[in-house]
Amino acid sequence: MGLKINHKLINNDVANILVNLCPFKAITYDNFKLEINAACKMCKMCVRQGPTGAITFEEDKVETINKDEYKGICVYVDYEFGSIHNVTFELIGKAKQLAKVINHPVYALLIGHDTDEASKQLLEYGVDKVFVYEDELLKDFDMQRYTNCFEDFINKNKPSSILVGATNIGRALAPRVAARFHTGLTADCTKLEMKENTDLVQIRPAFGGNIMAQIINPNHRPQFATVRYKVFDMPKKVDNPTGSIEKIDIDKKWLKSDVTIISVEEKPKQLDISEADIIIAIGRGLKNKNDITMIEELASLLNATIACSRPMVEEGFFDSKHQIGLSGKTVKPKLIITIGISGAIQFASGMRNADSIIAINNDPNAQIFDVANYGIVADLYDVVPKLIKRIKEDETYV
């Protein structure tokens, strides 16, 4: 399996076309020899767009697994300090939609201590079965112990797909478990769909660029996907929960750990932009750190939380907890007003699910206008003070 160069068809012209076509500079032509190097990302652009037949994609016959042996869509429960992270419920909502397509049950995997209330709460969202791994030693997250419990769950129940919230814990645990099963994992999916053959269709921004990739895991089970908080909708509770709870007997050897916790300190409640209903996001259009006062004034009039794009953090204008985007937080507010943000996918993928998007930018061609519901083409230094004035005028009326 792989790309095959048909050297008979390669001449200077063909080689030049191919070298220039590859977006990853993975095709080289030296001493009349065309080569594909390790920078290849298998986007197959050279196969599709290059001179016909010059580079072809050869598929091997692969041993196929029996997908019918794997049943159920499992949501890993992000559970700490006696409470379940809301991303878990969002994933349960999505899991139910996906399960419906293939008529599979929805499972929840709960690892922790003191789990009775949490199990009941999971059933209220329509989970068919909650699998509970409970022990005093599972109270705090421990990579090895949690991975071992997760492994046992997969071995015994063979779920087809596993969804994990992309929290700090989920982002470290899911790859560890996926690697143990030598299976695929797609991080930070923004969209999930189910094929009738139980292949999970995972969509995420890819190649660090302005592109979405649709990814499948055609010959491995279980299929792992992580999804960030606020990407999917919060589901409603079901009227009559019918699911069951199964507590698993813990084998003490799963609880071995090379990590000894010295102290756990709860952080003071921090600003969490992903919880905000109204957000004003500010970007590179803001020239001067002092101009933040103007944005703060607008934010206080609208009762909004201030967020920003990556360059603002790099410039030192804001702390990284204000940052929206792939390397920051994903937000899903009722309203977001972006000011002076060009809207590269890095940023846009972190806010495109907002109910309403108003974008203010002086460049009519800015990408932010592609995701905005309302675009205001204007210099922020011109329009923002006027907007503040207009809102204040209105307040004096009232």
Binding site: G2, L21, P23, A26, E35, N37, A38, A39, C40, M42, C43, F81, M143, N168, A172, A174, P175, R176, A178, R180, T183, L185, A187, D188, A206, G208, G209, N210, I211, M212, A213, Q214, I216, P218, D258, V259, I261, I262, S263, V264, E265, L302, S327, A348, S349, I358, I360, F369, D370, V371, A372, N373, Y374, G375, V377, A378, V383, K386, L387, I391
Partner: protein
């Protein structure tokens, strides 16, 4: 102590677009750089060596040109570097990438600690560190802010969403450094003059050098995930763009806010 730091060469810009007419991927610019998050891991490692003694090696996987980031790391203070590069390793997803790194690292001798950055700017998956630790069968922890050597164990601080954990971990282990945890040093001019092209200090590992020679574990063949298609993101359908006089625009924005009951 012996430390290995994983680094990656990434594109200097993230500007990749799809040509609407041909469907071709277009990447602007040709520059590349060391993944910014790896610099924090490297600085963390260099500080540990300065304090406790030992060696620091860097390892990267990529095309031959990726040796540039190894040179940069050596100019910063790394003792030597390894580049894992082979056509057979191309087209790898997270599983195959981490497995290849594991095979490469196994040829590098004993180590006490492997450090990685949080994530790369071109993949943004933040998974390779965890998967690598699993393949190597060593304990690991992520979101690391600080590491100290105490009584033959490493005491780290891990900063999670709502709490700070201090814990001891046995060696060998792998730790994923968080971002912005230190100020990475600049490459030293003196070291640059001293080591020049670093020829003696950089070793290339190809498929021939790794112990597991089952091609099904590497590159595209060793990658469970397949990219079915790539496409441009949906553009929001309902939309209005307003242009013109700023007084009118300010008023228009005000009306929109009122219409949606935000004022």
């Amino acid at each position: 102590m012996n430390i290995i730091v994983c680094i990656k060469q990434v594109p200097g810009t993230n500007n990749v677009n799809v040509d609407p007419e041909t469907g071709t991927l277009i990447r602007d610019g040709v520059t590349s750089k060391m993944n910014p998050n790896d610099l924090f891991a490297l600085e963390l490692g260099l500080k540990l060596i300065e304090k406790n003694g030992g060696t620091l090696k860097v390892v990267t996987m990529g095309p031959p040109s990726a040796n540039e980031v190894i040179k940069e790391a050596i100019y910063m203070g790394a003792d030597s570097g390894v580049i894992i590069s082979d056509r057979k390793f191309g087209g790898a997803d997270v599983l195959a990438t981490s497995y290849t790194l594991c095979s490469g690292i196994k040829t590098m001798g004993d180590y006490d600690l492997i450090l990685t950055g949080k994530q790369t700017t071109d993949g943004d998956t933040a998974q390779v560190g965890s998967e690598l630790a699993e393949h190597l069968n060593i304990p690991h922890s992520a979101n690391i802010h600080n590491v100290e050597l105490i009584d033959n164990k490493l005491r780290y601080t891990s900063n999670l969403e709502n709490r700070i954990i201090v814990a001891d971990i046995t060696m060998p282990c792998l730790l994923c450094a968080d971002e912005d945890i230190n100020t990475p040093r600049l490459p030293s001019y003196k070291r640059k003059k001293e080591f020049n092209d670093c020829k003696e200090l950089i070793r290339t590992i190809t498929f021939e050098d790794v112990e597991d020679k089952d091609e099904n574990h590497y590159g595209l063949k060793g990658s469970p995930t397949n990219v079915e298609r790539i496409f441009e993101p949906d553009k929001t359908k309902e939309k209005e763009i307003f242009d013109g006089d700023s007084d009118l625009l300010a008023n228009k924005t005000f009306e929109l806010l009122r219409k949606h009951r935000f004022i």
